[in-house]
Amino acid sequence: MLSRLTRPAANAAARLAKSVRKVSTTQIGGYEVFDHSYDAVVIGAGGAGLRAAAGLVGHGLKTACITKVFPTRSHTVAAQGGINGALANMTEDDWRWHAYDTVKGADWLGDQDAIQHMCRLAPEVILELESFGLPFSRTPEGKIYQRAFGGQSLKFGKGGQAYRCAAAADRTGHAILHTLYGMALKFDCLFFVEYFAMDLIMSDDGKCLGCVAMCMEDGSIHRFGAHSTIIATGGFGRAYQSCTSAHTCTGDGSAMASRAGLPMQDLEFVQFHPTGIFPAGCLLTEGCRGEGGILRNSEGEPFMARYAPTAKDLASRDVVSRAMTLEIREGRGVGPNKDHIFLHLDHLPPETLAERLPGISETAKIFAGVDVTKEPAPVLPTVHYNMGGIPTNWKTQVVKDAEDTIVPGLFAAGEAGCASVHGANRLGANSLLDLVVFGRQAADTTAELVKPNSPPVVLPKNAGEASIARMDKMRHCSGPIPTAVLRRELQVTMQKYAPVYRNADDLAKGKEAVVEVMKKFKDVGVSDRTMIWNTDLIETLELENLINQAAQEMYAAEARKESRGAHAHENFPDRDDENWMKHTLSWLDKPHVEDAKVVLKYRRVIDQPLDKEMHHVPPAKRVY
């Protein structure tokens, strides 16, 4: 049967088999299990995963990249605005100004060593992407075009708007992902496409030995032993009812780490992008405002001038989202229900829109029925990004406690990781940069620690047994609650109790409601019992991952008694550096959500840079 369904991965594996790479099989829990061995395994093939995989192969390491969707379907492809870097193509620029903006944007919860690393490397990685063929938009001199973006300034905030967001029209994420995929093809990376990674394999002494995954094409189970496992699985936007995220953004890698007893960091910080189309939820890039777009309320007033006198519409995203929410609350929303805001692009020359913002022009037409050259687009703050994730140091090594104890063999990069470069709020166009810099760093750190063609990792005989048993149980579960119903309940809970503005009352109710959802997971029911492409089962496993992450988010949010970055607490409207300038670490005390409780601890923020090339940025009042 497998011969009818040959896959490039299986065939590449067959070709590799000639180089003494045996794929052996065992029987576990009634399932046939294939064992693979690599120097490094990357879970996730978005921006960070592809850059890591290409980097690893470039270092000569035997690498496998496991992904639950074909690489170019990863959600990186939907990013629009651009990638920040101090190339100085439009004005003079300095990466230290970029680092300052990032520290301020993070509301001083970002780790300044990781931020320095990212901003310092930005020009290099952008040029590297361009050298692989990325079709950046161009200036009249033929250099890479850079646009204005939120929260970006010159001269440490004193020199006005910075133009440092390198862009490919408004399809930069698409361009980056396709360029990285081309790069991965050039390096001949080995992909395991449409394999759903279920759990990490950990040794008794807390080392990561690899992961166990299910092949969707035929339902076979695969154990991947590796000296280095890199988690690059993205965020969990789908925990909310309205989000710009894809259906596939379900926090799989993060939940896997959580089930392995590892902490998550800063999950309470969820970014609401100011301009998601209302009501569809599709993204209209910040680049709209970067090219001159303006937000107006029902009175036609460009209200951002009141909330952020200097940066106005290009203030940090959390500031803009809060401003929009307040305008609507105070009755100045637009539309028949006064429940959203207008984004005006109609004052911009149509040629600019056609050249710089063609993608969103199309999206607005299809999802809002609006011609942006003539009318405003309806927008509302929409869940977009998770600043939090698996805590790592600046070298992407996962840490498991407040003392920064490293988990050997485990790395995290991209949105799934928390280095933490974004702290309490991410600046636009810093995520695409985060992906490429830390994807590359994960590969580089692995190369320092793992030699090419290392002897295979010895997996414990029953590795993955619990995972397989869990998957089997889920496949046969016949509880009364359909997955879609429980998922809806989770999404409504998060949207209702942890939106842009949070308060003590809602957060307390939210905790109870999320615990309800956790307990109800044992009553979930799956109807599809087949092994091949069982999306009912996959969606149920993904739902567990969503609940895992959302529960930790709700608890972390309720515990943080201050407002910082994207976490706006109405009962504690000010930032409290004395008590709260620290990262939240959260655990589930048991691996399965229906039995587990959330435990919280805290970890200090790294406020010193890596080296003398950058000065420490001391905390200050965050005004735009």
Binding site: A78, R171, G359, T363, T530, N534
Partner: protein
């Protein structure tokens, strides 16, 4: 394979009972089902849903059916905004992205089938391995003959040269065009197909690429390129509004202009040197 006989089997939902109120707007969907475990003959299964409580796009209907009526219905989807290319399928006989196509209410069932002339893994999920391998074979990355000097920045590219890439770099590899092409139906192993040929031309047209002649020589083949007969289904169905047929016309023109007999030896060398580069039978 993908076009089954219409056997309508009304589906009785187990988990929800639907009673249609006066204000409801019922719409029937006839969706291709194939269960690889049973390997029985595929059939069209009918589902009836209320459009009033459903989003406007075909994908919204599919998700509603999967969530509320039949959780075994299987299809690919991700971004729901027409940029990832996962939900490419054949709707009422035309290829497109389910997330970008509005549901047009009709008294006749809306037929949803997998992409034509593909091996079907399950329900609406096709096997696109051949397509992905063919894409890899045209080497979709920038190729230079010189090495960048240490302090060199980006490769300069004028705005006019960059504009040549517009209409091609936006391709999302959804395979709507590939699987709409009769020529690709009859020769998928050898003909590269519209999307792959357009991407081949995207790199040929890129002023920064220095392997232009080699790229032209690689596609200059009676099967790889010249199975295109200008049928135009590709441009007709591209959900991103791109024009692969035009790119292929430009490609053929440039091949004809640039051709020299030296290409023969260039190609022989490449095939011998780079055995890993797929050519010909693409399924393995």
């Amino acid at each position: 394979m993908a076009l089954a006989a219409r056997i309508s089997r009304p589906f009785v939902p187990r988990l929800f009972s639907r009673s249609f109120a006066a204000a409801a707007q019922p719409q029937t969907f006839a969706i291709y089902r194939y269960d690889p475990d049973q390997q029985a003959k595929p059939f069209l299964q009918e589902y009836n849903i209320d459009l009033k409580s459903c989003g406007p796009m075909i994908l919204d209907a599919l998700i509603k059916i999967k969530d509320e009526v039949d959780t075994t219905l299987t299809f690919r989807r991700s971004c729901r905004e027409g940029i990832c290319g996962s939900c490419a399928m054949n709707i009422n006989g035309k290829n497109g992205l389910a997330c970008l196509l509005y549901i047009e209410p009709s008294s006749k069932p809306i037929e949803i089938q997998p992409l034509p002339h593909t091996y079907v893994v399950k329900d609406l999920v096709p096997d696109l391995t051949n397509f992905y391998n063919q894409y890899k074979s045209i080497e979709p990355w920038l190729k230079r003959k010189d090495v960048k000097a240490k302090d060199d920045k980006e490769y300069f590219q004028s705005r006019e040269d960059r504009a040549k890439l517009d209409g091609m770099y936006e391709c999302i590899l959804c395979a709507c065009c590939m699987t709409s092409c009769p020529s690709y139906w009859w020769n998928p192993e050898y003909y590269l197909g519209p999307a792959v040929l357009m991407q081949a031309y995207r790199w040929i047209a890129d002023s920064r690429d220095q392997f232009t002649e080699e790229r032209l020589a690689w596609v200059n083949d009676t099967m790889k390129l010249y199975r295109c007969h200008g049928i135009m289904n590709c441009t007709n169905c591209c959900p991103k509004g791109l024009d692969p047929a035009k790119a292929i016309v430009h490609l053929k023109e440039q091949v004809a202009e640039t051709y020299t007999d030296a290409w023969k030896s260039m190609m022989t060398e490449e095939i011998v040197k780079n055995k890993g580069r797929e050519s010909g039978m693409m399924y393995m």
